[in-house]
Symmetry: C2
């Protein structure tokens, strides 16, 4: 997020052809009404384009609160996120707060633009579901002292409030379930390891390979490039092409698992007859697939509620110690897993 040269208020004023004091008025919600609507719109657009904001949350210039919180999700259409957003909203509403929601469409440039736009609007804090393990946007918020909570995914090595699922436990339980069913040749299809969800689930499976009776080789451990159906299809095809026998796959999320089922069907293989599959998340309707998906249910709404509670606590008590809250998933056994050699 390093800028070639730091943009200041004069640069914005010059581009917008107004006096710097007008830029200052526009970017302060309390004085915006003193400027014509046409000028306000132009200045806000140019300030966003140039990456300028007065960082009201950090500068101490601001004396009031906006009672708004920015919530950024990577993909609102992914059924994982709506119940998390609902949980966030419920708690914010109890505190007289309201959410400004933005969907970044898994695009870092969008995230950057969204963040600027939210800063211009003087949100009192942010809840981000978009974090990568190394994340410049998160770094920037921490440096600027913007109250921040990460949700679903977290970052490496920074002291930040976060609410995630205990991903390692989930993968351990999925693998143990398959071992109990008599499977020993168990493959793993993971997600992008630049996210905490992808990495923590992957590391948990590697630990299970060492500590349990899983006999598969590392050739049957593969991390897909995205958490979606196409990546799941490609990943399962990749595993099948290794030529090494396996009777079960621990899959790192439900969308990947759906792609796996497509690949099996295309190859004339049956689930669970030939290969058992476990997912992660328990998205809506996973009980209605054929076969119904064995998966780890994550406590979506509770994750959202806890994230909003942490943010409210942080806003009201800025020096408060940060908390990394991990919530347990729940193993839901359905038809996609069966006894080995059945």
């Amino acid at each position: 997020m390093k800028k070639k040269s730091k943009v200041n208020i004069k640069d914005v004023a010059a581009r917008a052809k107004v006096h710097p004091s007008s830029v200052s008025r526009v970017l302060n919600p309390k004085t915006r009404g003193m400027v014509s609507e046409e000028v306000a719109a132009r200045v806000m657009r140019i300030a966003e384009e140039m990456g300028y904001s007065r960082s009201p949350l950090a500068s101490g210039l601001r004396t009031g609160k906006s009672y708004t919180v920015g919530v950024v999700v990577p993909d609102l259409v992914n059924p994982l996120f709506p119940p998390i957003v609902r949980g966030i909203e419920r708690v914010l509403s109890d505190h007289n707060y309201i959410a400004i929601l933005a969907d970044s469409d898994n695009n870092r440039l969008h995230e950057d633009a969204i963040l600027k736009s939210m800063k211009v609007r003087a949100v009192d804090g942010l809840i981000l579901a978009t974090a990568h393990r190394k994340d410049k946007i998160v770094d920037q918020c921490i440096e600027e002292g913007i109250p921040l909570v990460l949700v679903n995914r977290t970052v490496d090595g920074r002291d930040v409030d976060s609410v995630t699922t205990d991903d390692a436990k989930g993968i351990q339980w999925a693998a143990e379930h398959l071992l109990e069913l008599g499977h020993r040749n168990i493959a793993y299809l993971g997600g992008p390891t630049d996210t905490s969800t992808g990495n923590d689930r992957y590391q948990a499976f590697l630990r299970m390979m060492k500590a349990s009776e899983i006999k598969s080789s590392r050739a049957l451990v593969h991390n897909a490039k995205a958490f979606n159906e196409q990546a799941g299809y490609d990943g399962m095809m990749h595993l099948l092409e290794k030529g090494e026998a396996f009777s079960a796959v621990v899959v790192a999320n439900d969308l990947l698992a759906l792609g796996c089922l497509d690949a099996l069907q295309e190859r004339g293989l049956e689930c669970p007859g030939d290969i058992s599959i476990t997912g992660f998340n328990d998205m809506p309707f996973m009980d209605r697939l054929q076969p119904a998906l064995t998966t780890l249910r994550i406590p979506h709404t509770q994750i959202g509620r806890e994230a909003a509670r942490l943010l409210m606590a942080q806003i009201n008590e800025p020096g408060r110690a940060r908390v990394a809250l991990k919530l347990d998933p729940e193993l839901i056994v359905r038809g996609s897993t069966a006894a080995a050699g059945k």
Copy 2:
């Protein structure tokens, strides 16, 4: 929404134990910072509780825009709404606007509180997905001159911008598809007729009964009390208990159709072997059910985009004629419908 006695600024001040001028400062985003945070929070809470707002959008007191739009959905966890919200956001973002999203949980009291909260925050307009055919909240917005667009559902007999699916066409196409497959005894399971979606789909089926070779009696036409799975299950049980033969059911939405499939399974009936089923919406994963659902796909994202465009046009050109935009659905034929007597 008639109040027993109109709440004024003095009532709020008395309850909050502050001078009326402080209430005025708090409720104006431009002067809120002049009051302590503790007082601001208390006044906003009390103003909301008492139903008082300074109606900045209507009063003409306001000279600036907030560049925020309120979006209210009845149930964000219903897969119908996230892609609509995504479409809205994309267009708002192009106009330098941002969405304040609220989920009313199908609760009229929540909707009322949300509306008050958004008015206090001086949104420039509203997009509501929560409309009933007679809707006091919509009436109130129209009376107060708040720019407003209805999405997915609309109201009866008011001149208001709306973007909906052509529900009548969808039901006609579903019925024609079943007639082409040779079905004549076709039942109908609808939704709540106090919504435009429920009513328009119901009326369209009644017209098809008159105009086509459908032979069913009115006993096989039933409207459920909600658009959810439980109501679909109950509705199908109700139809089966009539004792009148039918080989197909036009169902007014996908969630209802899921409940119908559960009821058929419980009664030992097969879909489509014994009874063909059509849904409405094409929610995610409807292609993965067993059988995959024949349904009407609605253009979710486009509905959202068009709604945001209409709102932007209305904000920028207040006297503009209102538009009721109806978008065509698309019939998606899958495994839940088959030839009659097969």
